[in-house]
């Protein structure tokens, strides 16, 4: 099964990409994916834990089980709006 992974702001800089296609072999939660991406990409190490995660635009917690075709976004703390 396949996922689309999105990175933003400093996380996109660290990942060197704004989006990735990721293949998943078996059952995987958001927390599993977070761990796997951090180990595959040393520059992300320790960073994804500071991000919220959204699946298909809904914020979820780490226990969320991923499904084929999901869009998983790692969202660093936001800073829209105003001072």
């Amino acid at each position: 099964m396949k996922l689309r992974v999105l990175f933003f702001a400093s996380i996109a800089d660290a990942a060197g990409a704004r989006s990735l296609e990721v293949a998943v072999a078996g059952r995987e939660t958001v927390a599993d994916l977070r761990k796997r991406l951090e180990s595959e990409r040393p520059r992300l190490s320790g960073k994804l834990g500071k991000c919220a995660a959204a699946v298909n635009t809904q914020v979820v917690d780490g226990s969320k089980v991923l499904a084929d075709g999901d869009e998983v976004a790692f969202l660093p703390p936001v800073s829209g709006g105003v001072a």
Partner: protein
């Protein structure tokens, strides 16, 4: 009416769009790029969004504001891209029968945008560019969940 994108924000247009024959008050808030951030000189700000999610978040905020106050019109917009000092990054405009409702809803709108909207800013100033990362979306989500449980387990 909600929008996230690179188009310039027009306060005139927002006020026209929230106008409503039954509303006596219109409250508007504009966030604009300042020339400093706690003393550090700022020359421009780049706003990056997760557009699909940001649109969904603004729509949810509009819905929640309408539930809580008797609003005529609501406009919530956030601009993306590179903005110079003085340009507006965000607008909240609401109309309501009376001024208290308009002020309260407008304030709540901008507070929620600040906490919940998936938009990030990169500040350009002396010494280069820095990402400002301030509000963890996991914190924004918690109170809503808690409130729902208190009000009743059926929904």
């Amino acid at each position: 009416m909600t929008k996230v994108g690179p188009g310039k924000i027009s306060v005139e247009s927002a006020v026209r769009r929230v106008g409503d024959a039954g509303s006596g008050g219109i409250a508007v808030f504009l966030g604009v790029v300042r020339d400093n951030d706690r003393g550090r000189a700022v020359t421009a700000i780049e706003y990056h969004a997760y557009p699909e999610m940001a649109e969904a978040v603004l729509a949810r905020i509009e819905k929640d504001l309408r539930k809580r106050w008797p609003l005529g019109g609501v406009v919530l917009e956030h601009r993306t891209g590179r903005l110079k000092v003085g340009e507006a990054s965000v607008i909240v405009a609401v109309s309501a029968p009376h001024r208290a409702e308009a002020f309260e809803a407008c304030r709540e709108g901008i507070e929620r945008i600040k906490k919940e909207l998936p938009v990030w800013k990169k500040e350009f100033g002396r010494g280069g560019a820095v990402w400002k990362e301030e509000n963890d979306l996991r914190r924004a989500k918690a109170p809503r969940g808690r409130r729902r449980r208190v009000l009743g387990a059926t929904r």
